[in-house]
């Protein structure tokens, strides 16, 4: 009993430690792999990354898809939440969870079945006579511009954005709306002074989660992408399983590089927003 009292805290921390060990250990191992040259430690693979034309194209392609799908998901999700949150009571929130039950791969496959040239929509159009030939249906999936990937991510991430923002909107301090009004403030002042400061941290977190996921997840671009250009995770996967040991190490270097960039953005963002978050949590409003 005494042992349990003394070591209770350590026991409680075990799951978190196990998780950190798994994630931190994987990161450490990946880093060690990425700097393993022929004769010991080397940064060669990092400097060689940008000599590869396919990587530069891939990064650009990935950045465009990541930014566009993150931006559109955020904007659409935000708009939906802002428009409908006054009508949503506590009982309606479960509906937002439904799209979350489907994995990205299933969603991607669904988009493929729906929007492919031999998909449900083109078949319907063909059978109703609105389309003469399947080849006339626009190439929306497995296309060079990544429209299919973009549609899948936007479609899948909008519910996620709603899920993240809805609790913030349901808990917005409405009393401050009245304070703003009696002090002569307009709707724009309310947005600037209350709504945006409350929403911004969650918006940043959501944007970070979505962009990190879109930039690094394999399954959707693997299913809906083309052979060139490829999104970065697909390229990393191919390098990882290629016959060349050098490419395998470069895959590690590439993923470490991406992890470093996202990690830095997250750290800077949290550092900038933590004080504001703390201040908001001290609010004296009641509803």
């Amino acid at each position: 009993m005494k042992w349990r009292q003394t070591n209770g805290l350590i026991l409680l921390l075990l799951p978190a430690c196990a998780f950190l060990l798994l994630a931190g250990g994987s990161l450490l191992l990946a880093f060690m792999e990425s700097v393993r040259g022929e004769s010991g430690f080397s940064w060669t693979y990092y400097s060689a990354l940008f000599d590869r034309r396919e990587l530069v194209d891939s990064l650009l392609y990935s950045l465009i898809i990541t930014f566009s799908s993150t931006l559109v998901s955020l904007a659409a999700g935000w708009l939906i939440v802002r428009s409908f949150y006054p009508f949503i009571d506590g009982n309606g929130k479960w509906m937002v969870w439904i799209p979350m039950l489907f994995p990205h791969f299933v969603w991607g496959y669904f988009v493929l079945l729906l929007l492919g040239q031999s998909g449900l929509i083109s078949t319907f159009l063909l059978q109703t006579g609105l389309l003469e030939d399947r080849t006339l249906f626009p190439v929306l999936v497995q296309d060079q511009s990544g429209i299919g990937i973009f549609i899948t991510y936007v479609w899948k991430e909008i519910p996620f954005v709603i899920l993240m923002l809805l609790p913030v909107y349901l808990q917005l301090p409405k009393q401050f709306k009245e304070v703003n009004a009696v002090l002569g403030g307009s709707g724009a002042d309310w947005f600037k002074t209350v709504e945006w400061p409350w929403v911004k941290p969650v918006m940043f977190e959501t944007a970070l989660i979505i962009s990190a996921f879109v930039f690094t997840a394999y399954e959707v671009p693997g299913l809906l992408g083309v052979s060139y250009p490829q999104m970065t995770p697909v390229l990393a996967y191919e390098w990882f399983y290629s016959a060349s040991q050098d490419e395998r190490t470069m895959a590690f270097a590439l993923l470490m590089f991406v992890a470093l960039i996202f990690g830095t953005i997250a750290l800077i963002g949290f550092a900038l927003m933590n004080k504001r978050r703390m201040l908001l949590s001290k609010s004296s409003h009641r509803y």
Binding site: F176, V182, L183, G184, G185, T193, S284
Partner: protein, 319 residues
């Protein structure tokens, strides 16, 4: 007699089919403070919210300095409001909070200058860059008051601004607020459900109950000459005998025996307290209800009678 500065004429508020209040009328002179007292749920806060523009009257008219207040948009109404909580924006410093409204109309420089000068006047100039959570409850409410006054409203509405404070702080602050409002010559309506607070802050008091203003007048009028049983029980220290008669509690006495001169109620002595050197008995009437009466030199007895002397019975004079 000059025209009233604020004239509230026959205002009513209906929510669905319920009447929150009906046909309220009162007027104030420039610089006058009206305490609006009464039990919770009688529409006192709703009345203030309607005047401020946060809610709407179902009917009626409010004139301020001869112009119609209700026709104006909320942001153009010359009305300031202080709420139950200070409601300072938690992510802004004291200076930013106080200057907020003024900044919207007059720009940052002028608003900050004015806010600094006001904050100095109320003794908060050392806390300019502190955040609300670093200030005490009293400091926060003072800041909320200054924030409202900085806009130089014609009318200030205070909706139970001390209710979230502890009793000691509350006592200090209400005295300070009255002095400050008088110094600013600010016409104000102050909502409270505490009769002592109503007397302390208001030049006059309106007792609001059951959706109506039951009586409006100076504290001594309401206290010594309540117009009906409701006002008497809410504002005065009396024993209400029936709808038409009452007796000041200080004239009643405790006795272990009935009396032939006057009226009596069988009662149970619950306990006793002392106030300004006098002993008071808290008794429970057999017919229901509890009252406080002077205990005199009587020895406390578990059972006894509250004696109402015949010549101390008074009558309500409803107007």
């Amino acid at each position: 007699m000059s025209l009233p500065y604020l004239d509230v004429k026959s205002v009513s508020k209906t929510f669905d089919t319920n009447n929150i209040f009906t046909d309220l009328s009162f007027s104030l002179q420039k610089g006058e403070i009206l305490s609006l007292a009464g039990p919770s749920g009688t529409g006192k806060s709703t009345l203030l919210r309607c005047i401020a523009g946060l809610d709407y009257f179902s009917q009626g008219e409010v004139m301020i300095e001869g112009s119609d207040l209700l026709n104006k948009q909320i942001k153009h109404r010359p009305v300031g409001m202080v709420f139950q909580q200070a409601l300072l924006f938690p992510h802004m410093t004291l200076l930013e909070n106080v200057a907020y409204g003024k900044k919207l109309t007059d720009g940052k420089k002028q608003a900050y200058e004015m806010a600094r000068s006001y904050l100095k006047e109320v003794g908060l100039d050392q806390q300019l860059n502190q955040y609300p959570h670093e200030l005490s409850g009293g400091q926060q409410q003072r800041a909320a008051l200054v924030r409202a006054l900085l806009l130089k409203p014609k009318l200030l509405l205070l909706d139970e601004p001390f209710s979230s404070l502890d009793p000691g702080l509350r006592k200090d602050l209400r005295e300070w607020v009255r002095a400050f409002l008088k110094k600013e010559d600010m016409t104000s309506i102050f909502v409270t459900h505490d009769k002592e607070e109503a007397m302390l802050l208001g030049d006059r008091t309106a007792v609001m109950a059951e959706g109506r203003i039951q009586q409006i007048g100076y504290p001594e009028e309401l206290y010594h000459s309540p117009q009906n049983a409701l006002v008497a029980s809410l504002y005065s220290d009396v024993i209400v005998l029936d709808k038409t008669r009452y007796c000041p509690a200080e004239k009643a006495r405790w006795s272990s025996e009935k009396t032939v001169d006057g009226e009596w109620f069988a009662a149970e002595w619950v306990n006793e307290t002392y106030h300004f050197g006098r002993r008071y008995a808290h008794v429970l009437l057999d017919g229901g209800g509890s009252i406080t009466i002077p205990a005199g030199e009587q020895h406390s007895a578990l059972k006894g009678y509250v004696i109402i002397p015949e010549d101390e019975i008074r009558y309500f004079h409803a107007q």
